[in-house]
Point group: C2
Chain length 199, copies 2
DNA sequence: TGTCAACTTGACTTGCAGTACAGTGATTTT
DNA sequence: AAAATCACTGTACTGCAAGTCAAGTTGACA
């Protein structure tokens, strides 16, 4: 059996995906983990600490996913543009294969509940998004060197666009109850990049 | 003086933008509106009714904004592609001129708190997003007739992309504490549309 | 054998949502 | 002029969830 802390995080993640962080009570998390409320507070000082651990875990997972995906893409094609296009395709497929939606929500829900979460969580979030910006910006710089873009373009904004369409897509997906929106949005972004850089 | 109901909505909107819906108590809304808690419940049955009214008002505002913006753009240029490009530029400028951020958050925060809000609110949200999809899809259809797209493209996904980058941009803006992200994202989308359709 | 980590139990405080209802002063209707 | 309605105030209550605290239990390992 996994350790209780991990169990709590798994249960919380599922509950948060289903109904949001606020709507998930400690009581029900404890019940699902088959421990008492007191037991919960033994592992996490308060709900804030739980949120923080969840976000930390999510960011680590996401970073690893991006590492793997774009490393594999680069193996398949050494050209920076084609590697990115392959990576985005893989990302779209991965997004579509997530049955219960994507935990990206957690970042968004934290972004919209400033007061609820402490500064530490906000900084965590900020660093993660800046990290993704830098990651994709670096790829775009490499591409732009080899393939001059058809139009002048802000590479930071382009880097942000990956996060932006994923997060935006997740919101639409949830609000519409229609799966596949983030993947479709990523594919749009892919088309944009193709038009912008490819001959 | 504005009527109390409107005052309550204004105060709530500001508070929600600052710290989220959940973190805003009825007590503090009532205090800011200079009425008693009882007075609040006279106007709104519960917090759900307040959220619903806020979202209704937000959607109406957003629809009116889109109506105005793209009508003006069409006045400036009768060509469907150029009108849309002008409209998106105007939208980016409008987004940048909103000092306290954009209430788009409200849609997103509702999307992430399913349980908190009743089905009516969820349907409202859904209809709004479908409306925006249809609105932009119609524009893209008109454009595609005159300017065959360089690549096959899913017009629904393209229509969604407007909502997607605005909402996604708002999340990044909030999480980063960096203004101007949604406008920058809209400008990226504009570049994409230009590359996709223009000669 | 003792000690430490990982709990449990239970009692408590605080804060917020929501209910219920009695009353009040201003305005509107009849 | 009387009656009704509107837009509240005020108070008192229930119920739930978060979080605190103190004291006790249980199994593993040194």
């Amino acid at each position: 059996m996994a350790d209780t802390r991990t169990t709590i995080l798994d249960i919380t993640e599922a509950a948060v995906l289903e109904k949001g962080f606020e709507a998930t009570s400690i009581e029900e998390i404890a019940a699902a983990a088959e421990i008492s409320r007191g037991g919960f507070f033994y592992h996490f000082k308060d709900k804030n600490a739980l949120a923080r651990a969840l976000i930390e875990r999510y960011i680590a997972t996401e970073d690893r996913l991006y590492d793997d995906l774009f490393a594999r893409a680069r193996e398949l094609n050494d050209d920076p543009l084609h590697a990115l296009l392959i990576g985005l395709k893989l990302l779209a497929e991965t997004l579509d294969d997530m049955p219960n939606g994507h935990p990206g929500c957690i970042i968004a829900s934290a972004a919209y509940q400033d007061r609820l979460f402490d500064r530490g969580i906000r900084d965590l979030n900020r660093q993660a998004i800046l990290g993704w910006r830098a990651r994709f910006r670096a790829m775009f710089e490499q591409i732009a060197e080899k393939y001059p873009p058809k139009t002048k373009v802000d590479l930071d904004a382009l880097g942000d666009m990956v996060s932006s369409v994923v997060e935006g897509g997740l919101i639409l997906e949830r609000a519409l109850g229609e799966p596949g929106v983030p993947a479709a949005q990523i594919m749009q972004l892919r088309t944009y990049i193709k038009l912008l850089f490819a001959d």
